[in-house]
């Protein structure tokens, strides 16, 4: 797996956004959002992120949409195979075992 670059050269900017903080702060938060949602960060970093989310409407909307994405994946159900499909696959496997 490629190492995550520490500096985002192409899009990062230190200019203040209209929410009173730099976009670099938003990017720092966005990079950690999955870990934040999975409760995989230390208490102090979680608190830092929560504070940022409270002050940044853009990141607040972003984290909501990411949370919804994860929930949709978790809840997307798949029907079980029918007994006839299961029986057919089993027959094919046993046939393949016999002929090899």
């Amino acid at each position: 797996m490629r190492a995550t670059p520490r500096v985002m050269t192409t899009r990062q900017t230190s200019a203040p956004s209209h929410h009173g903080h730099s976009k670099a702060q938003c990017i720092k938060v966005l990079r950690r959002l999955s870990a934040y949602l999975d409760e995989d960060l230390s208490v102090s970093i979680c608190e830092e992120i929560r504070k940022h989310l409270g002050a940044c409407p853009n990141c607040e909307v972003f984290v909501t949409s990411l949370r919804e994405t994860i929930s949709l994946c978790r809840c997307a159900d798949i029907p079980s195979p029918s007994p006839s499909v299961k029986a057919r696959i089993r027959r094919e496997i046993l046939k393949a075992v016999r002929y090899h």
Binding site: F62, S65, R90, I93, V97
Partner: protein
């Protein structure tokens, strides 16, 4: 709705010690076919491909019954076989390496990109997924992921395994699993956003929130 009462972690068992191979295989097949079929459907575009994957998985499992020593969960062992078979199938079809997803490409450049919303219309995920269109959009978004990201997302967010278990199945450390998972989620978020869905079908303004 997923059957949450179904046990995800059957007891460890020694398949080798069970004597007759065909009987051991039947027990294995009966206990795990639903789980592996579900996994295969999540990984594959078409039902036929999913059925082929189930068949390949259990055929390989049958042949490997003697080597399985019970030092891992049976389900983990089967997920590993299925994952390898799936990556093999995809590579054979596409014949090209997986695209890397860069974190950079998901960093919004405008307020509009920050504020992309998922068209759940304020409903719970279960209610929102009653929409056939949204169900299809979720499936399609996952299918668009490069293989190595899709497998991680399916195992972690859909099969609900831990990062450690996913790492053991894919031969990755936890850090790599989490890194791929984050990129995969960001990719699916973008695909599922009102904009992403709108790009793949005629406009349906009713689905978009203001």
């Amino acid at each position: 709705m997923k059957n949450r009462t179904q046990s995800r972690r059957p007891r460890r068992q020694s398949l080798q010690a069970d004597g007759d191979g065909a009987k051991a295989f039947d027990r294995l097949y009966r206990a795990h076919v639903d789980r592996i079929y579900r996994f295969a459907q999540r990984l594959c575009r078409r039902v036929e491909d999913a059925q082929d994957l189930v068949q390949d998985t259990f055929l390989n499992a049958y042949r490997g019954l003697g080597q399985f020593r019970g030092d891992a969960q049976v389900s983990t062992w089967l997920y590993r076989i299925a994952t390898r078979a799936s990556l093999r199938q995809r590579r054979k079809r596409k014949g090209e390496p997986d695209r890397e997803l860069s974190l950079d490409e998901f960093i919004p450049t405008s307020d509009g990109e920050f504020r992309l919303q998922i068209p759940t219309d304020g409903l719970t995920p279960e209610e929102a997924l009653e929409s056939k269109e949204l169900r299809r959009a979720v499936h399609q978004a996952i299918q668009k992921l490069p293989n190595k990201y899709r497998v991680v997302l399916v195992l972690r967010d859909m099969e609900e395994l831990t990062a450690k278990e996913v790492g053991s199945i894919m031969g990755l450390n936890e850090r790599a699993v989490k890194s791929r998972l984050h990129r995969a989620r960001l990719f699916v978020r973008r695909e599922l956003s009102a904009r992403g869905i709108a790009e793949s079908r005629p406009p349906a303004n009713a689905l978009q929130r203001g």
